[in-house]
């Protein structure tokens, strides 16, 4: 691992520089150990694909002791496995909900239904939640539908957008610009401050998608806004 400076307020423990399930599992294992250890000066931890950012209170944090602690923990991280929840997330694919579905299908010489089938067949891993609230970055996309990002990002894409970019897949938390391809949209709200719990997914969870008809959108959207999770835990 490498210990990288992010100023005085954060340290980054970097396990590698690629997108890899094994590396991500080590990041999440260290994350879990650090959360349990509650070391002096550690404010919070931010797991990403291949590194863990540790936010600290600079005047209460002993960086050398931290590094020694992490190095001592490293042997226990190798071969780490994940035991997150598995979710079922309803998605309306295509049409106004997924304006790039037909284009993605054409690029891969498939029908839109074939793209939906391949996207919805996957069991995805939550590698990281980042960028803005509830942006859930997934690994596990079928390489047959992997699609390079758009050259001209769209200035606005709706909340709940289900999109793909390269070999990555995403559940968007809120309305944002995006250069990814929009396949569909879920009524589930990934981050809602005044709901209990405010967040649905955690890094290390697994996500599956369930295609639903557009006719179900209005009722589900209304229920989600009222605080229903909509997404369902199918394995705790």
């Amino acid at each position: 691992v490498r210990f990288l400076h992010a100023g005085d307020s954060a340290v980054i423990v970097e396990f590698g520089d690629g997108i890899d399930a094994g590396i991500n599992a080590q990041v999440l294992a260290l994350d879990a150990q650090l959360q349990a250890a509650a070391l002096a000066g550690v404010v919070e931890t931010v797991p990403t694909y291949r590194s863990l950012m540790v936010q600290v209170e600079p005047l209460a944090f002993d960086r050398d002791a931290f590094e020694a602690w992490v190095r001592a923990a490293l042997p226990t991280l190798a071969g780490a496995t994940l035991h997150g929840k598995r979710w079922r997330v309803p998605v309306v694919y295509g049409g106004a909900f997924g304006i790039d579905l037909e284009d993605v299908a054409a690029r891969h010489k498939m029908t839109p239904t074939q793209v939906i089938d391949r996207h919805a067949a996957g069991v995805y891993r939550v590698y990281m939640i980042g960028f803005m609230p509830g942006y859930t970055y997934l690994g596990g996309l079928d390489p047959a539908i992997a699609t390079p990002r758009r050259l001209d990002p769209r200035p606005k894409t709706p909340s709940g957008t289900i999109s793909i970019g390269g070999i990555q897949a995403l559940v968007a938390g809120q309305e944002m610009p995006s250069g990814w391809h929009l396949l569909g949209r879920t009524p589930a709200i990934t981050f809602m401050a005044r709901r209990d719990p405010p967040v649905l997914f955690a890094p290390g969870d697994e996500i599956t998608f369930e295609p639903i008809g557009a006719d179900r959108w209005p009722a589900l959207e209304q229920a989600a806004r009222a605080g229903d999770l909509i997404a369902e835990v199918i394995r705790a």
Binding site: L4, H5, A6, G7, D8, S9, A10, I12, E14, D17, G18, I19, D31, V43, E44, T45, V46, P47, T48, Y49, R50, S51, L52, M53, Q55, P58, L59, R63, M128, I129, G130, F131, M132, P133, G134, Y135, Y137, G173, Q174, F191, A193, R194, P198, V199, A202, P203
Partner: protein
């Protein structure tokens, strides 16, 4: 209960505090005051802890009406006027506003962000553990948005305790005017030696694209190394300086995204974040690399300076009679009238 009613305010007026931590793993950045020291001074002047929630103004001030009781206020951060019913309050002094009076914060004369602190704090409901408003995420403050006319801000105290304090006029605040100090990394290895030399040697200018999320700077292009300018997204700290493909730096601040895919050449030290945040578009600056240990020592010095500031607060009646009279007379000479 005592309330402040917002009569008018600039579009960037928000409730802020020391920031909201614990949610970055879910994509929510900490927000909080852009100039922590400025907010801390305002809070200390009214007897609060340094990071109690206060009203942050971005360039444009605002006007408030006091209802239902008495309130003590003080201003910190950017240099701006504070007036109660048209009477100027001296800089670095608290003042008490009676029921029915008007509190007016002027536009910043220099700098960008000023802070109005209220003795005892505002009784705003914490959202996920903090008052700090993150407007892009729609979280904190009042309904996750900036303040606007008609908003009602309840105060924790019905009536302030004790008397108004002011900074002893003999105490001078040391002003730091040198380069903005950074710790190199986490991705300084994505830049060529020439690129690093450009970053640390040349002058950069704050562009008009400067807000609570980040300040885009203009200046000589910073050359990346052979590894290019895309990384697998990793965590972003407050003060992280991203350099996208175009080669101009972007300093990420309070409302930053939590992760990003551009290499970060360096991170502005915590002690210099407030100073950077007060630099208006057009301000020229240089960067200087320091070690992490030096950055921590500078932060400790900032805390010591705030302790000294607090230790030199004295009753306003004894501290600043002369200067307040002088300011009042200047206002009269200028023909300034209340309530404008």
């Amino acid at each position: 209960m005592t309330h402040l009613i917002v009569e008018r305010c600039g579009p960037g007026t928000t409730l802020q505090d020391g920031g909201r931590f614990g949610w970055q793993r879910f994509g929510l950045g900490p927000a909080g005051a852009m100039d922590r020291v400025g907010m801390a001074r305002a809070n200390l002047l009214v007897g609060n802890a340094p990071s109690v929630g206060a009203i942050e103004f971005a360039l444009v001030g605002g006007r408030f009406r006091v209802e239902g009781g008495t309130v003590r206020v003080a201003l910190g951060g950017a240099n701006a006027d504070l007036r109660i019913d048209g009477r100027s309050v001296p800089a670095l002094a608290a003042a008490t506003a009676a029921d029915g009076s008007n509190i007016e914060v002027g536009s910043a004369r220099d700098g960008l962000f000023s802070y109005l602190a209220v003795a005892g704090g505002l009784a705003a409901a914490a959202d996920l553990g903090a008052v700090a408003t993150h407007v892009r995420a729609g979280i904190g403050g009042i309904d996750g948005r900036a303040l606007h006319a008609g908003d009602t801000l309840p105060c924790t105290l019905a009536t302030p305790i004790g008397e108004d304090l002011a900074l002893n006029s003999g105490f001078k605040i040391a002003a730091e005017n040198g380069p903005i100090r950074v710790v190199l990394g986490p991705q300084d290895d994505y830049f060529s030696a020439a690129g690093l030399a450009t970053f640390l040697g040349e002058i950069y200018t704050v562009s008009p694209q400067a807000d609570r999320m980040g300040f885009r700077l203009t200046g000589p292009k910073i050359e990346h190394g052979p590894k290019g300018y895309n990384i697998v997204s990793d965590g972003i700290a407050t003060g992280s300086i991203q350099v996208p493909g175009m080669g101009e730096p972007l300093v990420l601040l309070a409302d930053r995204q939590t992760t990003g895919g551009y290499p970060k050449i360096a991170t502005v030290i915590t002690a210099d974040l407030g100073r950077l945040a007060q630099m208006r578009p057009g301000t020229a600056l240089r960067f200087k690399a320091v070690t992490r240990a030096e950055a921590v020592a500078l932060l400790a010095a900032e805390r010591t300076a705030l302790d000294a500031f607090r230790a030199h607060l004295v009753p306003a009646s004894s501290a600043a009679d002369l200067s307040s009279e002088r300011l009042l007379s200047l206002n009269l000479l200028d023909g300034w009238t209340a309530g404008g």
